[in-house]
């Protein structure tokens, strides 16, 4: 068991950076290629989480707890954002009967 933990903590910081950037790019791609509002919000969650993981990795490697506190704030922010966003989605769905973002182009000139 001790051996496994040592091996895992030997993972270099570079791998975390690469993994998180790939996850962030997946989130960006999801925002770009989907038209369902809910899935777009889920992609945003994915991006927030990749940044969270990177912050935790940095704080673990630096031995500094401030990063983890910051992740805590990001989580609270994400929870608030999801609640408000989903309420807005429900309102939009009641008005347009669709979750397609193309139905929200009324503000376009």
């Amino acid at each position: 068991m001790e051996n496994i933990v040592d091996q895992i903590q030997g993972v270099p910081l570079n791998h975390y950076i690469i993994f998180c950037s790939i996850m962030f790019a997946i989130g960006v791609t999801g925002v770009l290629i989907r038209r369902n509002i809910i899935i777009i919000m889920m992609s945003i969650e994915l991006m927030l989480n990749s940044v969270n993981l990177l912050l935790v990795a940095f704080s673990a490697y630096r031995g500094d707890p401030s990063g983890q506190v910051f992740v805590f704030f990001v989580m609270a922010l994400a929870a608030a954002e999801v609640a408000v966003g989903l309420a807005i989605i429900v309102m939009v769905y009641r008005n347009t009967k669709s979750v397609d973002i193309e139905s929200l182009s009324k503000l376009r000139w």
Binding site: S21, T29, L53
Partner: protein, 149 residues
């Protein structure tokens, strides 16, 4: 997986799997408190909220809006470009790979609480105000139509 499946419910379930692996990452990185918070908040609250809205709106696979293939390909290429740019940037920098101080107890509630309530007391209170505002806003948004109807 989350972004490529057609069915939104499957998409949510794949996202839950992703968050579960992230929780395991937190545990491996000695962030036990954050692992528990991640487990409860993300996999419990947020995912249930997403599933609830999906069920409430009663979407099915046929009505799922999809973009045209051209836009999809352009989006995928843009994502790949982002990955390439980031990786190219990270190749240059060389972070120190060894752990500076291997504190095993850095992620425990005791240490986190000391930092949270000493240095970060003002942001903590502000986040509570933010959550209250979000709650009020959500209730307002959800109630408006009921009164009108």
């Amino acid at each position: 997986m989350t972004i490529f499946t057609k069915n939104p419910v499957h998409s949510v379930l794949y996202l839950v799997i992703t968050f579960f692996t992230l929780t395991i990452h937190y545990i491996l990185l000695n962030a036990q408190f954050l692992a528990v918070v991640n487990f409860i908040v993300y996999m419990g609250a947020i995912m249930v909220l997403f599933l609830f809205v999906l069920m409430l709106l009663n979407l099915n696979k046929e009505s799922e809006p999809m973009k045209s293939n051209l836009v999809k390909i352009i989006g995928a290429i843009a994502g790949m470009c982002l990955i390439a740019t980031l990786l190219g940037a990270f190749r240059v920098l060389e972070p120190s790979n060894e752990m500076v101080a291997a504190h095993a107890d850095i992620g425990l509630v005791k240490n986190l609480g000391k930092v949270l309530f000493n240095e970060f007391l003002l942001p903590f209170e502000l986040s509570s105000v933010l959550l209250l505002t979000a709650m009020v806003g959500t209730v307002l948004l959800a109630k408006k139509d009921v009164k009108k109807a």
